[in-house]
């Protein structure tokens, strides 16, 4: 047991690095009480070497969640590829509760069939078994889908491995070669694709509920404007280009409205834009800073940051049927600084940037009780974003003078770092679940 815990601590998984800069994931803290599982290397039926190590991708996913402790390959007792070949007793003997076996079959048309079984080693029975068609360029995605099935079967909660993250990478900061890149990658950091590159600041990416469009702020015309870009077709639309701030876009849960910050009337206020007509509805009226709107899960409330009480804190308004807002109610009271609320998918929590004692960290506040828990322990943490299943929060932090992404489980027990090889990575936004 001790050996297993030690191996879970400070384990760095650095998978084969392709030519393009990729995010690598480093698990900085293990979790006591996570489920032991063996993901046995998949068999390959085809010519040459297997095109992907499905089992390695699945094991890395499960480990990243903080809920599982995959058995190291050198500790495995045999290499079965189907249930009939599994000697449950020998897997139980090495402390494994669950075993995943499978194989990858190359078909004549160049596609693949990926077959896997999730087995309960204690009871000696199958919990799940699937055969998934795949293509050469989809094998990582198929592996993430397998991780999702395993995660949901064993935890009862939907998996969020087959999702994306969007983020901004800044390079050459402070020089005349500064670039800002808006990128999208798989949730494990692989398969990065640049969707926008600019010499001017790019910020605040926000996924539409359809998982295909991103709203963001770009200074490409010298001033901030809010754009919506279809990630697949590259089609771009200007949503707000008023004098002053055009910032902090946030999609309503139905995808029909965008809340944002405009200062065209003199100082920053929250507005809601109807995406069909681009008509504006003003939400806040106060001489203080009002910014960083976030929608409640039911789309009938807006959270935002305001310093109307003297320092930045989170407030909430309710919207009536016409979209008009009630009087703002203050929600955060602990600490001098609470800003940039991100709402959990179940609507029960908000994650915030919590400033106290000169440190800015990620905290989660339960909305019912008002209880605030600090989840991170650095000093420059920002931009929290919930995974679509609510189990993890991805955020930006600083490490050795560089911006990196990190993730923490909602209970604060599992931590991991994601870092690019160069540049400052910031403002992660976790995508919604893929739509089938």
């Amino acid at each position: 047991m001790l050996g297993r815990m030690l191996s879970a601590l400070f384990v760095a998984i650095v998978l084969v690095m392709p030519a393009r800069a990729e995010l690598t994931i480093q698990i900085s803290e293990g979790v006591e009480g996570s489920l032991p599982i063996a993901v046995v290397p998949f068999g390959f039926e085809g010519r040459g070497a297997a095109p992907a190590d499905i089992a390695a991708i699945v094991a890395a996913d499960l480990r990243r969640s903080g809920r599982f402790q995959p058995l190291p390959r050198e500790d495995m007792v045999g290499e079965p590829h189907e249930a009939q070949q599994v000697n449950f007793q020998s897997w139980r003997a090495v402390g494994t509760d669950n075993v995943v076996v499978g194989k990858l079959r190359a078909l004549a048309d160049g596609s693949y069939q990926v077959q896997f079984q999730l087995l309960d080693a204690l009871r000696g029975k199958q919990l799940a078994g699937y055969s998934i068609p795949s293509r050469p360029d989809q094998l990582r995605q198929t592996a993430h889908q397998i991780s999702d099935i395993i995660y949901e079967t064993l935890t009862g909660q939907r998996g969020a491995f087959d999702t994306f993250i969007a983020y901004v990478v800044a390079t050459g900061k402070g020089t005349d070669k500064a670039t800002h890149r808006l990128a999208v990658a798989d949730a494990d950091g692989y398969g990065e694709q640049t969707i926008l590159e600019s010499t001017q600041p790019v910020m605040s990416p926000a996924w539409a509920p359809d998982g295909k469009r991103l709203a963001y702020v770009s200074f490409n015309k010298g001033r901030p404007a809010v754009y919506v870009q279809n990630v697949v077709t590259q089609e771009v639309r200007v949503v707000a280009e008023y004098p002053g701030l055009n910032n902090a876009p946030a999609w309503s849960p139905d995808g029909k409205r965008l809340a944002l910050t405009l200062s065209k009337d003199g100082n920053p206020e929250i507005y809601v834009v109807d995406m069909a007509t681009l008509r504006l509805q003003r939400i806040t009226r106060h001489y203080a800073i009002d910014t960083e709107p976030a929608w409640a899960a039911d789309g009938r409330e807006l959270f935002f940051t305001s310093d109307r009480g003297g320092s930045p804190q989170i407030y909430r308004v309710r919207l009536d049927a016409s979209g008009a807002a009630t009087r703002p109610q203050r929600l955060t009271f602990e600490g001098r600084y609470n800003a940039r609320a991100s709402v959990s998918p179940d609507g029960k929590h908000i994650a915030v940037v919590h400033g106290a004692d000169g440190k800015y960290r990620i905290a989660v506040q339960e909305l019912n009780t008002g209880i605030l828990r600090v989840l991170t322990d650095a000093r420059l943490d920002e931009s929290p974003s919930f995974a679509p299943n609510g189990a993890m929060i991805i955020y930006a932090t600083e490490e050795n003078g560089r911006g990196v992404l990190a993730a923490v489980s909602i209970d604060g027990r599992s931590h991991q770092r994601l870092s690019l090889q160069s540049g400052d990575v910031r403002e992660p936004a976790w995508s919604p679940f893929k739509r089938l």
């Binding site: 900061k173 402070g174 600041p201 910020m203 605040s204 200074f219 010298g222 001033r223 901030p224 002053g244 701030l245 910032n247 902090a248 910050t261 200062s263 100082n267 920053p268 800073i289 910014t291 960083e292 940051t305 310093d307 320092s311 930045p312 600084y337 800003a339 940039r340 940037v353 400033g355 800015y360 420059l380 920002e382 931009s383 600083e398 003078g401 910031r426 403002e427």
Partner: protein, 179 residues
Amino acid sequence: MERRIQWVLIVVFVLGLAACAAPPPKEDAGAAADAGAAAGVDQGADQRQGADLGTGFQGHPLDDPASPLSKRVFYFELDSSQLSEEDREIINAHAKYLAEHPEVNVVIEGHADERGSREYNMALGERRALTVRQLILVQGVGQQQIQYISFGEERPVALGHDDSAWGLNRRAELLYSGY
């Protein structure tokens, strides 16, 4: 009249550029003597020379290091948009200059340090820019002379992650066109 001022400004600007482009040639006493000889001046007559008594600053007031107008960056405390008394006086001098020169335009940039959230810092940078703008406007400067923009924490001048860097990044900058 206004046109003349513009021309003077352009000439001063071009001279300034030329001065920047190449170091000024050293005074060549031999060449001056040759020139005198060529003009047929009697070498034995009295040699009169002017003494340099200094003429004060001859360039544009925005270039004069002794002028309050040379200070165009103003710093702020954490999460504050309050200007120091000294900076208010300097900004008043800028306002006076702008009121006297309605043809001169200025952009006010507001910035924040990296701490806290990016979008809140964007708003904070704008508030800093607006504080400077308001001070200038009350001196009777035309609104059309002043543009303002916030870059939040996106354009730091100091790249460190400590108090000294943060102090330099919490700022408003006055950018005169051409300067």
